[in-house]
């Protein structure tokens, strides 16, 4: 049984097709990345999984429970960290967490609440009103609220947007631990290095469709080998090298190479045509290259 089974989900808002037949299966225990530029449909998809919005067609099951027909069971299995920094200004951190636990139909469990707060460095803010917290602290509470009922499936919608390095490290340490303990984690982020470091498998969305779905390693292999980044002056680059050039808007000319022994012939051909190499860098391909290639050269 998949942790999240998404089958042919479509969602339209009037003429806008936000999701256009998305199918995905996220397995239990996976750390899954959902990437795509703004407006690709990531948050819409997460909202459908969470039951916050309804799809126009298709089905979503969380741990085997349909999010529409069996919504209570499905929601109990899911913890969602929303993208928007929302909070209830009437309550303290501890009250907020106790109430969130109660909404899931669970009895008070202060040990677990204390443990979550300790792991997210919230302990000394436990009795502070939500209004008095900084943005970063509010974000921590949002994460804590999503984890309070120990959901087997955790969905984080851009949890690190605009947060400092310290919180990112705290967060990934804790989420990493939960993932190792068996929780399934689904992450959307605009920080591709974060996705590359954390996610074992990645889906890329564009215009409401899945345009790539593979393990992170396999995706990295799609962009073969490395990139040779050159800053050239003098004569234009010889036409013979055009076939390996990566089309990027940059002051650098980027060439794709499979092995390091391809470098010398490239340099020789540049010398012959009168090019001067002002700067040279050799870069391993990363997820950003994959992303840019798949999204058709459009950076996010």
């Amino acid at each position: 049984m998949a942790a999240i089974q998404i089958t042919d989900i479509k969602k339209s808002y009037g003429a806008l097709q936000a999701l256009d037949g998305v199918s995905l299966s996220i397995e239990p225990g996976e750390f899954f990345g959902l990437l795509g530029p703004n407006g690709a449909g990531k948050t819409t998809l997460i909202s459908i999984i969470a039951g916050l919005i309804r799809s126009s067609s298709g089905t979503v099951k969380v741990m085997g429970h349909d999010v529409q027909s069996d919504y209570r069971a499905a929601r109990g299995q899911l913890g969602v960290v929303p993208q928007e920094l929302v909070f209830d200004p009437f309550f303290t951190v501890r009250e907020t967490l106790r109430m969130q636990l109660g909404y899931y139909g669970l009895k008070r469990n202060d040990d677990w609440i204390d443990e979550i707060m300790a792991n997210l460095d919230l302990t000394n803010k436990a009795d502070t009103n939500m209004r008095a917290l900084s943005g970063g602290m509010k974000r921590r509470v949002l994460v804590a609220q999503a984890l309070v009922h120990k959901p087997p499936v955790i969905v984080l919608d851009e949890p690190t947007a605009g947060v400092d390095v310290e919180l990112r490290q705290t967060l990934w340490k804790f989420i990493g631990r939960l993932n190792r303990e068996g929780h399934t984690v689904v992450l959307t982020t605009h920080y591709l290095e974060e996705a590359q470091a954390l996610c074992s498998r990645i889906a890329m969305l564009k215009g409401g469709k899945v345009v790539a779905l593979d393990t992170t390693n396999a995706l990295l292999k799609q962009v073969a080998g490395s990139q040779l980044k050159l800053r050239l002056s003098g004569a234009p680059m010889p036409a013979s090298l055009k076939s390996i050039q990566i089309p990027l808007e940059s002051i650098y000319t980027s060439l794709r190479i499979n092995h390091n022994d391809e470098i010398e012939p490239i340099l020789a051909s540049l010398r012959q045509s009168g090019c001067v190499i002002d700067e040279l860098q050799l870069q391993q391909a990363d997820l950003e290259d994959v992303f840019i290639q798949i999204m058709g050269g459009v950076a996010q």
Binding site: L52, G76, V86, F87, F91
Partner: protein, 251 residues
């Protein structure tokens, strides 16, 4: 059941934490009405034989406070949660639409009754009140609070901005309460307005409630009770249906 209890507790805690605004202020407002209208009209008006105007007025003011505050509690809680976005904390968990309905309406009833009781305690000193049929007092205040709590829930779901909620409150709830016989008996009205008043469900709530005190009313109390009960069932049906469909709450 724990989900319902928690949401109910949260709704109580929410208004309790701002009690000056949600409890003390409406009690003071009702007290001002009593002092001014009681002072001006006590010697000139007698609605029921043998009942002082101030005594007539007190149950009306109590019920008006119950109704207005029940409405305000459910509607403003939902509206604030929608505007600030924290409604998501209630939409994400596995709360059923029955639990949502029950918690919001019950908390609205509690707020309405707390304010009503407060108004009663502070105004009862100003007149000799009788309690001919206390059961009717309890029944009508409970049902009235439930009706307005449900209306508040519906308005809170429907309204997309505070402006629309204010319109609902000022153009529907306020006229309906003021024109329901809080300050007068509808028998003192010209025939046209008498007929109009008979289509106002608020009139039956206040008339039945007042019967509990004086044993006198414009309409037979059982008749009022049936109308009020039917009105509640219709509204509850509407409210539950909106929650079930996720109307304006789930896209």
């Amino acid at each position: 059941m724990i989900g319902f209890q928690t949401l109910f507790y949260k709704e109580i805690l929410r208004f309790w934490k701002v009690a000056t605004q949600t409890i003390t202020a409406p009690i003071l407002t009702a007290l001002l009405y009593l002092l001014i209208f009681g002072h001006v009209l006590d010697r000139h008006v007698q609605v029921y034989a043998g009942v002082q105007y101030t005594a007539f007025l007190i149950p009306g003011l109590v019920m008006m406070s119950v109704l207005q505050n029940s409405f305000a509690n459910a509607s403003s809680s939902l509206m604030q949660s929608k505007i600030t976005g924290n409604l998501v904390f209630i939409l994400l968990p596995p709360l059923s639409y029955w639990e949502l309905f029950g918690a919001y309406v019950l908390a609205a009833i509690v707020r309405g009754l707390v304010v009503g009781l407060g108004v009663f305690i502070f105004t009862a000193w100003f007149a000799d009140l009788s309690f001919v049929a206390p059961l009717w007092i309890i029944l009508f205040s409970l049902l009235g609070a439930a009706i307005l709590g449900t209306m508040g829930l519906i308005a809170g779901i429907w309204a997309e901005k505070f402006d629309q909620l204010a319109a609902f409150q000022n153009f529907l709830i306020m006229p309906a309460t003021f024109l329901s016989g809080v300050f007068y008996s509808i028998h003192s009205l010209p025939p046209v307005w008498l007929t109009v008043s008979r289509f106002n469900p608020f009139f039956y709530m206040i008339d039945g409630f007042r019967y509990g005190f004086f044993g006198q009313s414009d309409v037979e109390p059982l008749h009022s009770l049936l109308i009020v009960l039917a009105f509640f069932l219709v509204l509850a049906g509407v409210g539950l249906n909106l929650l079930k469909r996720g109307y304006k709450l789930r896209g």
